[in-house]
Symmetry: C2
Subunit: 329 residues, 2 copies
């Protein structure tokens, strides 16, 4: 297997170049257009080997795809449409060239859906593989989504399903524990972990709303509970989450018990869905349009707590716990 | 000494927050303005501990300053004016909090001169300290500087002086070898290594040129020779460099012999000056304006070589050597 140390910098750059926008690279920076009247949105995410990914659970193609999704998801969370990406890579010198090619193919596959390209970056050696992506996008001033604007009475709408990525990671980490799980379920949750989708489709729907409503939100990269906690803290509000309305995917029901399922759903992370607060009528309209693809799970209130309540009184009242959310240190 | 592992993520973020633009952070991305009619310029640079910096030669304040300069210099090299920066940090958990504060103070000191701020980023743990900065700037379409547009007959103009940063690094690495060097000289070259300046001042001068001339160029972050080689390769031209016109700073003459001085000057790197190709009349006008702050060192020709020639025939003709330039792997 050919490694970086066998080929040197110039050949390495020659291998990466075809994955980049030929017109934008080769200079000290890339020159891009921002549409007339739009604001620029910029976001940076770092993935470190053995912290955010591991060769044992994530092939390089999927690492590239997920890293790209993480950044595009941040743009979606701001209500923005992506323009371009820069890729900063720090690599061990014993990394195989095929690993790098596969990583870029994963990035490219994710980007291709949105017709955007890699326009620059940096590559250097290190003792640990690290991928640092910066994505730029654009948004109309009045359609930008922030975390601090949630109002009492807003409902909380989530896209898609939470907990699937965590279920996939569990199966990859502990295959023997889950050896009884059927192939279809296994594939579904592993795919959710390895190939999460940024919810830019939702942004398209939001953009078409007239008149444009106030929407507050963020993505659920660090978990559904974390997103709700962050939004409530920054908006100085509380919330109630209706336990019966939290959608537990069938795949997760097949894999684990109710309590673990709830934990994965609230604290699992890396589903890259959107958690949005808005007027109930707007939320209901979106639900009619999107069907199963979004769920109204709770409501913003004037308290200082985030309560998980059960209208059917089967489960006791719980408070969302910040200490259970993903800690980067 | 308090370390990251002692305080955790939330306190760490609280320490970093004061160094950032309060209005831009706290969401999934930062929202920025690009001036009407301007293009966006984006550039990314990664600095890895023990590859690009070391605690033995560079205090954290200077690491922050240099990392910022490296990015702003890339914007200057594109003819762009900076707008904002994002900082991606991967840190060992035993890093002292005072180290991180000092790093941000260095970044802030460099940014303050240009009235720009940190608007976002990411922070995560790793096994090696890594700083990944992305800078965004703006430029008028017709004033963007590329590497591929040098024309036969253009002269090569460099800003400032080359080799000083390398001289500073040498003194820091081998203090005993240079123990005879006077304090003033020592301080001057160590400052050049630890606190290099991005040449955004030059961009201001260029912007005022009417009519705006064709200017080709890049910065000399990887060395003066590297910059000339890159420009010639991308423009499909050659060049002659006049050895007598290469300005050897007095400080370097005091520190080392002629041959080493020439090597530092051509291949030392990290001076973050600009290497620009343009019509001779424009270059002469700039030289009148800037005086000692820029030098016409050679000329672009139609050959495929870059020759270092000596009009006084003291030294033999040399070819610039790509293998001597900084290799990232």
């Amino acid at each position: 297997m050919v490694k970086i140390e066998d080929i040197g910098e110039h050949q390495l750059l020659a291998i990466i170049r075809p994955y980049c926008d030929q017109e934008k690279i080769g200079d000290d920076g890339a020159i891009l257009d921002v549409s007339l009247g739009k604001k620029l949105v910029i976001t940076t995410d770092i993935l470190v080997e053995n912290v955010h990914f591991s060769d044992s659970t994530t092939p390089p193609h999927s690492i590239g795809y997920r890293a790209t999704t993480a950044n595009l998801s941040d743009l979606a969370a701001m209500g923005a449409t992506p323009i371009a990406l820069t890729i900063g890579l720090s690599l061990r010198k014993d990394v195989e060239i095929s690993w790098i090619e596969s990583l870029y193919q994963g990035i490219q596959q994710c980007l291709a859906k949105y017709n955007i390209k890699i326009v620059g970056g940096d590559i250097t050696r290190s003792i640990v593989n690290t991928i640092s992506i910066t994505a730029v996008g654009e948004v109309s001033q009045n359609k930008a989504i922030y975390r601090h604007t949630a109002k009492v009475g807003d409902v909380i709408l989530t896209t898609g399903f939470h907990g699937l990525a965590k279920a996939g990671l569990e199966i990859l980490l502990y295959p023997e524990k889950y050896s009884h799980i059927d192939d279809e379920t296994r594939k579904k949750v592993i795919f959710a972990h390895q190939y999460p989708q940024p919810r830019l489709d939702m942004i398209k729907h939001l953009k078409n709303l007239h008149p444009y409503p106030q929407i507050t939100g963020m993505d659920s990269s660090d978990g559904l509970a974390d997103a709700i906690i962050q939004i409530c803290q920054m908006s100085n509000v509380g919330a109630t989450i209706n336990r019966q309305k939290l959608p537990i995917p069938l795949a997760i029901k097949k894999i684990t018990d109710d309590e673990t399922a709830l934990n994965w759903l609230l604290y699992g992370g890396e589903d890259f869905e959107l958690v949005l607060c808005m007027n109930v009528k707007v939320a209901q309209y979106l639900q009619l349009r999107l069907g199963k693809n979004c769920h109204i799970i709770g409501e913003i209130n004037a308290s200082s707590e985030i309560q998980l309540i059960d209208h059917e009184n089967v489960y006791p009242k719980l408070l969302l716990n910040q200490r259970k959310t993903f800690q980067h240190f």
